[in-house]
């Protein structure tokens, strides 16, 4: 009976979109969705740490492929790929282009393009490309892992799981409230932009004028926000915000043995990588 009720609450939570348009949660029931949110964060952090400490871009490349496979299995590959394209392509272009052509360590020619208009020859150097890939691949691992975590975790469940692992409920409030505030503030900001423009605010023109416009936009937004915080802090105090007793939660976030194993594996991998790195360095 009780489990039926819990099922309903879980289904309800999944059906509501994330706390906001910011947290791009995709409801589902894959192995990534069922994993404890804290496990996902620990695995992400350890993969990125190991990737950053790895000597070449081979280890991070393997992680990257692994993470991509996981997103395919979790059914979120399409969305991850679309966002990754917007985030990673400009960065990849800058890194490969500028380091490939101008890195001070460049010595070995990789490709030479001749008879080009204007610049005549372009030489792409091996050291620069290697350096760019060494920087780029851990960042790709970071991006895919974070996107996968965000898309498969309901923000409320993330907050509960973090509190159960020892995060202060007040800090959890800060994150949840900020996630709710940002879209509200953004909407209010666009309203203020429209209202000020209707009163003749110039958002084009010289740099000085645009800086002034910035102040004219920010002040009303902020004063309004500060006045609502007064009410909000009274409301929070009346609901026991400062109490330190144990709390009860609407959802239950399971923490299975497999989660514990994964967390230990992640931690162990980081220790091993740091150890290896120190030995190399000595």
């Amino acid at each position: 009976m009780t489990s039926d009720v819990e099922m309903d609450i879980d289904a309800l939570a999944d059906a509501t979109p994330g706390t906001s348009g910011l947290f791009d949660f995709q409801p589902g029931n894959s192995f990534l969705h069922r994993m404890n949110p804290v496990t996902k964060l620990v695995v992400t952090a350890s993969m990125v740490t190991v990737a950053l400490l790895a000597p070449s871009f081979r280890v991070p490349s393997i992680f990257f492929v692994g993470a991509i496979v996981a997103t395919v299995l979790a059914g979120i590959f399409g969305r991850v790929a679309r966002i990754l394209g917007g985030l990673a392509l400009p960065l990849a272009f800058s890194l490969l282009f500028f380091h490939g052509l101008f890195n001070p360590a460049n010595e070995t020619r990789l490709w030479v393009f001749e008879n080009l208009p204007v610049v005549e020859t372009i030489i792409v150097w091996e050291e620069g490309i290697r350096f760019a890939l060494t920087i780029l691949t851990p960042l790709l691992v970071l991006m895919v892992c974070v996107l996968a975590t965000v898309m498969t975790t309901h923000p409320k469940k993330l907050a509960i799981a973090m509190i159960q692992k020892g995060l202060s409920p007040k800090l959890a409030y800060v994150f949840m409230a900020a996630l709710q505030f940002i879209p509200d503030m953004r909407e209010q900001a666009y309203d203020i932009i429209d209202a000020q423009q209707a009163r003749g605010l110039n958002v084009k023109g010289s740099f000085r004028r645009r800086i002034r416009a910035f102040v004219d936009l920010l002040t009303p937004l902020l004063i309004g926000m500060l006045i609502t915080t007064e009410t909000r802090s009274l409301a929070l105090d009346s609901r026991g915000f400062t109490r330190t007793n144990a709390r009860t939660y609407l959802f239950e976030v399971p923490d299975r043995p497999v989660d514990r194993v994964l967390r230990w594996l992640g931690g162990g991998a980081v220790v091993a990588a740091v150890g290896w790195w120190v030995v190399q360095w000595l």
């Binding site: 910011l22 947290f23 985030l87 990673a88 392509l89 400009p90 960065l91 800058s94 282009f97 500028f98 380091h99 052509l101 101008f102 890195n103 350096f131 760019a132 060494t134 920087i135 780029l136 960042l139 970071l142 991006m143 974070v146 975590t149 965000v150 007040k170 409030y173 800060v174 994150f175 409230a177 900020a178 996630l179 505030f181 940002i182 509200d184 503030m185 953004r186 900001a189 958002v203 645009r210 800086i211 416009a213 910035f214 102040v215 936009l217 920010l218 002040t219 937004l221 902020l222 004063i223 926000m225 500060l226 006045i227 915080t229 007064e230 909000r232 802090s233 929070l236 915000f241 400062t242």
Partner: protein
Amino acid sequence: MAETGVSFWRGVALDFSTRAFVLIPVAIGLNVIGGTFTRVLRLPLFLDVIGTILLAIIAGPWVAVVAGASTNLILGVTTSPSTAFFAVVQIAIALVAGWMATSGWFMDVSDTRDYARLFLAGVILAIVSTLTATPIQVIVLGGFSGAGQDAAVGALMATGSSIVEAVFATQFTIDITDKLISLGVAYGVARQIPERYLPSFGQQVLNE
């Protein structure tokens, strides 16, 4: 602002009143919205520390540290994961601005000397920001971020500068304008907040 006779940690705990906790999400929102406005107005700046500096002035350095670090962690999960590394910059800004506030840099600003000190505060914040951001930018991101400033960094590298020099020069050029404006806006807004909505830290910092 720790009262005399109260231990350091007790003083920090006193800064974290319910009102301070309510202000943190507002400051985070402000940091994020600053970025939105810069896009609307096409300003070549970040303007992502206004909320952090404002909190450092009205609620103290430690509350500002939480707001600043959280801003970049939240941007890390909602916008671009690599932003999370720059939480270090936010923490440094929060601590330095908070230290300035407790040392009375923002108290009763009226004559030319006070304004000169405010200007100096902006310059110091720009230096702090550049010194903390450059190593992160170079070591973690290889000097590039996938944003507009890449062109400037790349142009400097093409003319023979090292990666560190190129990033430092680009970063400082943006930071000096960015932090002066951020501090000016944060201070201006802090002054305009009605007394009854100011936490006690801010009342002491601004009015003694």
